[in-house]
Symmetry: C2
Subunit: 155 residues, 2 copies
Amino acid sequence: MLTEKHKELIEKIGVYFELAMPPAAARILALLIVSDQDSLVFEDIRSSLNLSKSATSNGINALLDSKRIEYYTKMGDRKRYFKWNPTSTINHFRSEIEKILGLNTLFENTIQLKRDKESYNTKMLGELSDLMHFLYQETSTVYEQWKENKQQKVY
Amino acid sequence: MLTEKHKELIEKIGVYFELAMPPAAARILALLIVSDQDSLVFEDIRSSLNLSKSATSNGINALLDSKRIEYYTKMGDRKRYFKWNPTSTINHFRSEIEKILGLNTLFENTIQLKRDKESYNTKMLGELSDLMHFLYQETSTVYEQWKENKQQKVY
DNA sequence: CTTTTGGTTCTGCAAAATTAGAACTAAAAG
DNA sequence: CTTTTAGTTCTAATTTTGCAGAACCAAAAG
């Protein structure tokens, strides 16, 4: 059962996730993060969020595909127990940054195509591309740095 | 006039921008980035992209509002000369990272609400929140670091 | 072999987003 | 003062999304 506070948080977190996925999937993910139970089955999710079976099924499968949730099973029980995959959220940040590199390639192609290599726009494209590479370098090691940092604090 | 290569790049870059804005606006921004002319007027944009006047007007104004493009004028000429604002793209990255902080606040609220503070999910939420703060710290200075780095290279 | 459980898949609909087209407007030109 | 230019705004059509409901299916239970 969800308290009002839980529901409120699910909606607010859901709104964030809606930037990258449909509303129903966003709510499902938020529910699995906020819930006090460590895992929920199909029907728990459906009834908690008042969704149809199809919306629940499609939402769950999209989240499974993108690895943002996972499930385990119990012997002699056909149900799947869904849970949030916190590691995927970390990886998600990384893949967001990888997207930047894709755009960067297109920017570099654009520079190639520019007639006037000395124009303000062309130069700025070059600088941006440079900055984006720098950002990528810096952030690609953030996770490792953070893990080290943490170890130092603990021990 | 746009060559086939230009058109291809506009479409590809447009697809990236479509993640965050409507198709017409995305194409307009891509056009202003790719174009060999340093600025374009309303009618240039409209005809290059085969857009209606309303789509052109709405797209341009949305981009102006979000500061992703700007315009200048010429004396005795009522037309506006639109150009890409490269700095806004840099700021855009920064505001993306700021969004993370908003989500983080909600994650911290979630931890408060958790019945079992020692559960895997609760602990992972704490770690994620910690990591996101760390990421924010690191990236908030990336631009300054990069500028310094660049200066060292040049002089 | 019939029923129940735990889903998936297939329409179809409703809402939201996006665009085109036409009417409109304000400033400048003729 | 009529026309042209450089757009804006309104309305309506079109497309895209997302969801519900119902039909469907396979495995297990009765």
